[in-house]
Amino acid sequence: MKFQSIIVEDLQVSADFLRKFCEKSGMVEVNNHFLNAEDALSYLRDNVVDLIFLDVEMPGASGFELLDQLVYAPQVILTTSKVEYAYDAFQYNVTDYLKKPFTYQRFLEAIQKVGKKSEQQNGNSEQDHMFIKSNGKLIRLHNDDILFIESMGDYVKFITPAKKYITHNTIKNLETKVNPQVFMKVHRSYIVNFTKINDIQENTLFIDGNMIPISKTHKSGVMQKINIL
């Protein structure tokens, strides 16, 4: 099965090389190419892809701003000519980082990483629990026990009906590691267990008496996910 992808890149020659390498690999299908983040975001609101080849600096919004607004977490290969973005790339948990211009061999290495990560993520979708490190201990939390996860800067707080656990992690990182059949990001600071949602009022959802904001960009994703009769 091929990875379904899009290219977000304002330099045509770079996009042409990417398209050629994708075809040559036989592993990646390019569904579309966008010259700016806004057009890509609009496409991604209605279409699901496995992989985004993403430039960072483009006219208008940057590649990182696009990632901030995504309602789900496809894999991302950053393509940029500026090495200084490597740290941000790490923060955004991207799969790989290609410095332009790059060769086919380097491209293939990146695609192999996508394959490996995809296998790991498929494994995650069957997991019914996770281990978190809190107060020097590894604690097993069942998905069903977690109400939601809240960002606290470089830390996150796991909220269960009985207790709160604080651990060193980020929402961005957890987004790709939690079981997507149970959890979803509803705001840059919140991942919720959507089987625990009691009700939704406009841009706020309620879980066990807790009010959680739904960001404008995540609203349509939330509405798609819940079962409205």
């Binding site: 304002d10 330099l11 020659v13 600096e57 000519s81 500026k82 332009k100 211009p101």
Partner: protein, 134 residues
């Protein structure tokens, strides 16, 4: 058969990064000819925009253009120029005063114009080679 042999004999000019170019184009000299020609065209267009930004003292805009131009030199095997562009990009990022970028920009314009001659010349060689191979 004769044409296939000829195709393998094309050599990029020695002052370009030939190892990288061989790997990048993998004997697809039609693509190489296209990329060299379009890169030259785009570099010219972007250089004009850079000069406009410089003339209106827009250092942020100038930095963006320089950033966009930078990888284009890589696709034509002029990787050494990329580091000059990266250094100038940092200068632009560190100031809002256009006078501080003047010396660097003069250098950028000079190396770009020189690079364009090299790219045009290689594009011409590639085009001739591909025509002979038809």
């Amino acid at each position: 058969m004769h044409n296939e042999v000829d195709k393998k004999q094309f050599s990029f000019s020695q002052h370009l990064d030939t190892t990288f170019l061989k790997e990048l184009y993998d004997n697809d000299f039609d693509q190489a000819a296209l990329v060299f020609a379009t890169s030259a065209e785009q570099i010219r267009a972007e250089l004009n925009i850079a000069q406009e930004k410089f003339s209106v003292s827009d250092t942020a805009g100038l930095r963006k253009v320089i950033h966009k131009m930078k990888p284009l030199f890589g696709y034509v095997g002029l990787n050494k120029i990329i580091s000059d562009f990266a250094a100038f990009e940092d200068i632009c990022a560190g100031t809002a005063d256009i006078s501080e970028t003047k010396k660097g920009f003069t250098h950028i314009v000079a190396i770009t114009e020189q690079a364009l001659q090299t790219i045009d010349s290689e594009a011409k060689r590639l085009k001739q080679f591909n025509t002979q191979c038809l």
